[in-house]
């Protein structure tokens, strides 16, 4: 008898269904809690031509900057705090640092600075923090979360000085840093950028047309929670361009459809939810056989936070993404996924 020696990693999938017409629908609040997004992909069934009506939105994502070797104390610079952080227009995270090995930093749009540090670095920094939820027994990783907008962190105050000296003189922490801003916030970053080696990057939009893909004519009422994994697998197969072998696909021979997936990798926060409205207004309101569209957003695997300010880790995989299926009748299905080192999505 074969015995499984270990379980697969834990995973959580939240399936929400409701309608955009519901005054208390929480879609925007829910999806905006995933702050650091790496890739946005959109699947528009039965869309044969380029979605010109969505071009503006797809190309409207702000550019982002990669700053080489940024000393982290620079994020506490008074002018930078005043012009960018307090305005809530800037966010960023360390680049190519791994949450399970390295020290990681995230600057959140709400002004929180989150540091995920190994034990030695945490002790050298000398600022209050708490052991990571995911290895609290061994206490090998610590999380420091500071609200830069809080009164106790006012520039010049004791809390501010302690963190500043800790980062500047004691830990001397440096990292390649990805910095992005909400639309219109670009100017506030210039002073910081001028002091370091940086490069500007634009989220690159790629889209293709799938002529042979038969999209299901889905309705919300068709979708039961037990179908969730099948739906997500199907979306994943389309995204990964995995070819299917099913003869059954041709069960409706007169139905020819074109589908258009588009993908935008970059650094975003909150922005993807701005796609929902144009998709619903300009795409779904045209009569189609498959009257739905899907929006999938992948979070950064190595971000120290996920779903609000909850700690994020990576055990074997740091999965955090959501898929939103929007239907013509204004109803929606929202799938929020979390891995073993995450709390339950909102």
């Amino acid at each position: 008898v074969m015995v499984s020696v270990s379980r697969p990693p834990r995973s959580v999938l939240v399936c929400d269904s409701s309608t955009f017409l519901h005054e208390k629908n929480r879609v925007t609040t829910q999806v905006e809690q995933l702050h650091f997004n790496y890739k946005v992909s959109l699947l528009l069934p039965e869309c044969s031509s380029a979605p010109s009506h969505l071009d503006g939105v797809l190309n409207g994502f702000s550019s982002f900057y990669l700053i080489r070797n940024l000393p982290i104390y620079e994020l506490l610079d008074r002018d930078f705090l005043q012009s960018a952080v307090f305005q809530g227009s800037v966010y960023g995270l360390s680049y190519r640092t791994r949450i399970d090995e390295d020290n990681c930093v995230a600057l959140m749009p709400d002004g929180h600075l989150v540091l995920s540090l190994d034990k030695d670095s945490f002790e050298v920094l000398g600022v209050e923090g708490k052991p990571s939820r995911f290895n609290h027994r061994t206490k090998s990783r610590f999380v420091v979360s500071v609200d830069l907008c809080d009164g106790s962190m006012a520039p010049g105050g004791r809390g501010y000085q302690r963190l500043h000296t800790g980062l500047r003189s004691r830990l001397q922490m440096k990292a390649d840093f990805l910095l992005s801003h909400h639309p219109g916030g670009g100017a506030s970053l210039q002073a910081l950028l001028s002091r370091y080696d940086w490069s500007e990057h634009r989220p690159a939009v790629s889209s293709r047309t799938l002529t042979d893909l038969s999209c299901p004519t889905l309705l919300t009422s068709d979708l039961q929670p037990r179908d969730s994994h099948s739906v997500l697998e199907w979306l994943g197969a389309v995204d990964a361009a995995i070819t299917e072998d099913g003869g059954e696909l041709r069960s409706e021979p007169d139905q020819v459809s074109w589908s258009r997936p588009a993908a935008v990798p970059g650094v975003f926060s909150g922005a993807p939810s701005h796609l929902c409205l144009p998709v619903r207004r300009r795409h779904l309101e045209q009569p189609r056989l498959a009257s739905w569209a899907s929006l999938t957003v992948h979070g950064f695997a190595d971000s120290p936070v996920c779903w609000g300010r909850d700690e994020h880790g990576a055990l074997k995989v740091g999965e955090n993404f959501y898929s939103l299926l929007m239907f013509q009748d204004h109803s929606y299905q929202l799938y929020l996924a979390a891995g073993a080192h995450d709390s339950c999505p909102p």
Binding site: S11, P216, W234, I242, D245
Partner: protein, 160 residues
């Protein structure tokens, strides 16, 4: 490539979760607030599924001593089955995994395996050390209980 036909993929009819290790939380409706219409109660449904994924997905690449060696998808699958067989015997070799996607140039594959077989498959991949009498190693690049994350790995973000 073995991938279930559309209907099977979408309308999953088998067990929803590996037996005995999953549970399901269910909240129906929104609590009625003052003045809210009764019809709204059924407008919202939230279901939390834990460890419910019938499959796990792996992104692996095969590293070979001689980089120019060509390995086809069929050879790759056969090689993995050999590994399962040597570690877990005939029963282990019967593990029903699929090679969903394979690139011959990079020798990178997307594998799908029933969740209960993930650990077996992973351990046999780790222990595979030689391919046609040359040293080799499987690199497990990503593991997930969903297929979607395999196409959106932020660790692949390369700038400059």
């Amino acid at each position: 490539m073995p991938f279930p036909s559309f209907r099977k993929a979408l309308w999953w009819s088998g067990p929803v979760a590996p037996a005995g290790r999953s549970w399901l939380l269910f909240y129906g409706g929104i609590r009625r607030m003052n003045g809210a219409k009764k019809s709204h109660e059924s407008d919202y449904q939230r279901v939390v599924l834990k460890n419910s994924s019938p499959y796990h997905y792996m992104k692996v690449s095969l590293e070979l001593e001689d980089e120019s060696t060509k390995v086809s998808a069929v050879e790759l699958k056969h090689f993995i089955i050999t590994g399962l067989k040597s570690l877990f015997g005939e029963v282990g070799a019967a593990l029903d995994f699929d090679v969903l996607k394979y690139s011959e140039d990079t020798r990178t594959a997307f594998l799908r395996v029933p969740s209960r077989g993930l650990v077996n498959l992973w351990s046999s991949l780790t222990l595979l050390g030689s391919y046609q009498s040359q040293a080799c190693a499987f690199r497990v690049l990503q593991v997930s209980s969903f297929l979607l994350p395999l196409t959106g790995n932020s660790r692949e973000l390369l700038l400059d």
